[in-house]
Amino acid sequence: MSEELEKRVEQIMTESGVFRCVECGKCVVGCPMAKMYASFSFEISPRGVLKKALLGPDPMKDESIWFCTECNACTETCPEGVSCRDLTAGLRKLAVEVGMAGQGLFCQHCGKLFLPSHVMKYLEERLGKVQWQFLHLCPPCRRERYVLLNS
């Protein structure tokens, strides 16, 4: 990992307060991922992503950052004010910038990253193998499309 990238990762970690983590595990308790993924494990939990970032290298290349829904429940329960959501979001953004965002889904209209692929897989599990176009649009574009179809 180049120096520049290391610096960026460092910055993301500082801004999300990762170094304050005391490993209490409260973040995992409230995390909805436990109810979404049969394969839920330490690896993809907030604590797991945090540990991976701390130990490095290249946390943004890791697949484990593409399971989170960014709901922020972890941040809200954290007694130390660590934001695992910000860490994950920051790493994802970095991954997009360096072209390593294969696990992300981009809105078919505006091109913005709006859903991690694992979350989409979860949606498909729950909804069935449906071919609905709207699922591949981010919510603002989806609303715009709905308006254009009906007015």
């Binding site: 505006c110 913005k112 603002p140 574009c141």
Partner: protein, 457 residues
């Protein structure tokens, strides 16, 4: 009800030269003496006069349940004649400014490079607008919005006209024109301020549980006072006794847009097929439309082109009239107007060296409006029910107090049933509250109008 709760209590002071953005508290004595809107702007202008200020503010009733509570007011010295003017900004500007948690924004000095100011609740930042500089209005708005889809409800921006500092430049809102007839586009251009993006979406506006019902009641009264089928831009023209300036205005189903919380839509969305493309715009500027009516079928094309470039339509139309007519028909005629005013004079290109007056017949109201510090884009609609010979004063009074309270002056002129008492009721209905607020409003209105302030007999 603590009347100060109707204010956000905060203003933003932006020093464009240094790039510093500072928040300051709204002084209660300012609110007490000036209430808000245009009157507050005068006080702020004087306070910051040395730094070439442009002030934008809302009133205490902006974004409240008062009818047409959409207003923000922009005040500055006009680059054309150096006089102070107040421009009403309707549509979403006032509401989004208030939702951003601000009572006013003061823009000082000049930036070295093109900048954009973005405000939202709790945040304000000046960012570089170098990639936006040179873009026309629709391109600018699209670019800003594509960075954040679903955001940026109100964008005030200048187009190539403002960038070129021509005195016929306007500050536009979103894709269309505003009632800025004072050439503030050039003032922004001088400051290298490309856009002000208000990403409100927040808001903690003080309201009472019975306000929606009160607002509904007033809306019913207003509707009763209007003849049926009088809606959209047609209503403004009919009230003025003018003919409709262009084709397609009455085509049904015409879509009529209303500004924030206004029960009476007075802007028609024009949509016409022209060969392969569509001409689409919102008729936000009745004066602008009328100014081009001598262009017949091409009136709306000209208006839309002015909106696109950030040109002030009333002035642009006058420029073409002053030319020999052929100039107006040449391709790229509008682009010529984008150059500096002095250049136009030297090159013998069409120009006027003044603010464009209202493009209609002269009467008492246009006389008073021309002398006032209100934008000449506010239609000279005579308010009904006044005593004979008083309509001009009543016009000025209504425009003044609406632009202080933060409600749209056009509705005040169209709906004769609305008055200060009914609006003030949204700030408290107990007798002593009403008395106190009326006192403040009357004082501020008087100051704003100078000797034109005596209420009608």
């Amino acid at each position: 009800m603590n009347w100060l709760e109707f204010y956000e209590g905060r203003g933003l002071v932006v020093d464009l030269a240094s790039g510093k953005v500072r928040q300051e508290a709204l002084k209660p004595e300012d609110a007490e003496a000036k209430v808000g809107g245009a009157a507050l702007n005068v006080a702020l202008f004087q306070r910051y006069a040395e730094s070439d200020p442009i002030i934008l503010s809302t009133g205490p009733l902006t974004a409240s349940f008062a009818p047409a509570s959409c207003l923000a007011v922009m005040t500055a010295k006009s680059p054309v004649n150096g006089n102070l003017y107040h421009v009403p900004l309707t549509w979403q500007a006032g509401a989004e400014l208030k939702f951003s948690g601000l009572d006013y924004i003061v823009l000082l000095a000049q930036a070295n490079k093109p900048v954009m100011l973005r405000v939202r609740r709790g945040q304000a930042e000046l960012t570089s607008a170098e990639t936006l500089w040179g873009k026309d209005i629709p391109e600018t708005v699209r670019t800003v919005r594509s960075a954040n889809p679903g955001d940026s409800r109100s964008i005030l921006a200048i187009g190539p006209a403002g960038e070129g500092k021509t005195p016929y430049a306007q500050v536009n809102q979103n894709f269309w024109g505003t009632l800025d007839k004072a050439g503030f586009g050039a003032a922004w251009g001088r400051k290298k301020l490309k856009a002000l993006v208000m990403t409100g979406m927040g808001g903690r506006v003080k309201v009472d549980p019975d306000h929606p019902a009160l607002s509904r009641q007033l809306a019913e009264e207003i509707k009763k006072g209007m003849p049926a089928k009088m809606t959209g831009s047609t209503a403004i023209f009919k009230k003025l006794g003018e003919k409709i300036p262009g084709p397609g205005l009455l085509s049904s189903p015409a879509k009529h847009f209303a500004c924030f919380h206004c029960p009476f839509p007075c802007q028609t969305f024009i949509e016409r097929k022209k060969s392969k493309a569509f001409l689409r715009f919102l008729l936000t500027d009745p004066g602008g439309a009328m100014a081009f009516r001598n262009r017949g079928k091409r009136a709306f094309d000209s208006l839309a082109e002015c909106f696109r470039l950030g040109l002030e339509p009333m002035a642009a139309a006058l420029c073409f009239e002053s030319a020999k007519g052929e100039e107006a028909g040449k391709p790229g005629a509008f682009s010529n107007l984008l150059q500096q005013g002095e250049d136009l004079l030297e090159r013998g290109l069409p120009n006027i060296q003044k603010l464009a007056p209202w493009p209609g017949p002269e009467n008492d109201i246009t006389a008073i409006a021309g002398k006032s510090s209100f934008s000449t884009g506010i239609p000279p609609i005579a308010p009904e029910g006044g005593a004979a010979g008083q309509s001009a004063r009543e016009w000025a009074r209504r425009v003044a107090f609406s632009m202080i309270l933060g409600v749209c002056p056009l509705l005040m002129l169209i709906a004769s049933t609305l008055n200060e008492e009914k609006l003030i009721a949204f700030m408290g209905r107990e007798d002593k509250e009403i008395a106190a607020n009326m006192g403040r409003l009357r004082g501020a209105t008087r100051d704003l109008l100078g000797e034109m302030a005596d209420p009608p007999a």
